[in-house]
Symmetry: C2
Subunit: 186 residues, 2 copies
């Protein structure tokens, strides 16, 4: 049942992409190798021959999710668009395709150093992106404003996903959006 090198590389990509999505949806620790294998359309034995361990697969899947995030937001060049997209119903309802920081942030205190390092790098990347969209005079002020904006976006998104009431979720999204837009114009 051996496949071509090319096919094996494609399978690896497929595993990574589906794992990056599934881990954001269900959590790294909570999702099993069987579920990850099924999502990729293979048996779990194949995941082990490709990655060796769940930890290794998780490391690569976190990298994959962060790369997807960077790619999906690279076209955004103004803070209003960034905030509107991030704090949208669509983003709220699609954790598997959404921000890896919001999806994985709570697991980081219990994650390995390698995974936390990659996550931390992703946090810095998001802060730098948002900082570049800020209008404050000094770089320090822009960074501080960006950090606060990132915290508000991540907090607003995870809270809107957590609550068991759609109206409250929408209220959280709209209140955080308008707060960020008000502070951006001041």
């Amino acid at each position: 049942m051996r496949v071509t090198k090319q096919q094996a590389a494609q399978n690896r990509e497929k595993i990574l992409i589906s794992a990056a999505s599934l881990m954001r949806e269900r959590g790294i620790a909570s999702v099993g190798m069987d579920a990850l294998a099924e999502a990729a359309g293979m048996t779990h034995g194949s995941l082990y021959s490709q990655f060796g361990s769940k930890e290794r697969l998780a490391e690569e899947a976190v990298r994959q999710a962060l790369v997807e995030n960077a790619r999906n937001t690279s076209d955004v060049s103004d803070i209003g668009t960034y905030v509107s997209r991030y704090l949208s119903r669509k983003h709220c309802d699609a954790p598997g395709d959404g921000c890896a920081l919001a999806a994985l942030v709570s697991e980081m205190p219990r994650s390995s150093q390698t995974i936390r390092d990659r996550f931390t790098h992703g946090v810095r990347a998001m802060i730098e992106h948002v900082s570049g969209l800020m209008h404050a005079r000094s770089a320090r002020q822009r960074d501080d404003a960006a950090i606060a904006a990132v915290a508000t976006m991540v907090g607003g998104l995870v809270l809107s996903r957590a609550v068991n009431d759609d109206k409250l979720a929408d209220r959280i999204l709209s209140a955080t959006r308008s707060s960020l837009k008000a502070s951006a114009t001041s």
Copy 2:
């Protein structure tokens, strides 16, 4: 090995308090009944005779954690103090004694309805408390400002706990603190 009714009630309290703390530290799903029993100084069989299932224990432990939160913040009557305490190094380093919303928020999308209902109630309670400390004219404006402040606090805290770099963690805490204090005086 039977104990008095009073002792049994005390044991139940002890289990609840240590479970509320351990679940905030390690996550509801990630902590096992053995670990919860050990933390309470009992065997896991005792936890089952007291609560029947892990789900039931988790439901009560989430309630316990939210009650503790309400009690710990009931004395705070100005927004500056609230923000300073919430976004402090001390709070960041003590998830087991800290805000249940920040500790459990990411698990809620995968939690039972009962647990999510209690969590949602806790979110409303925090918003209402913070709203009462806001200076805006209308109730609607105060609520919106409170929601945004809660999102910034929760986001800032979970991000500072997640990153693998103490300097960045401190920067996140201080930037979110100053952002919230600036918006409170405007």
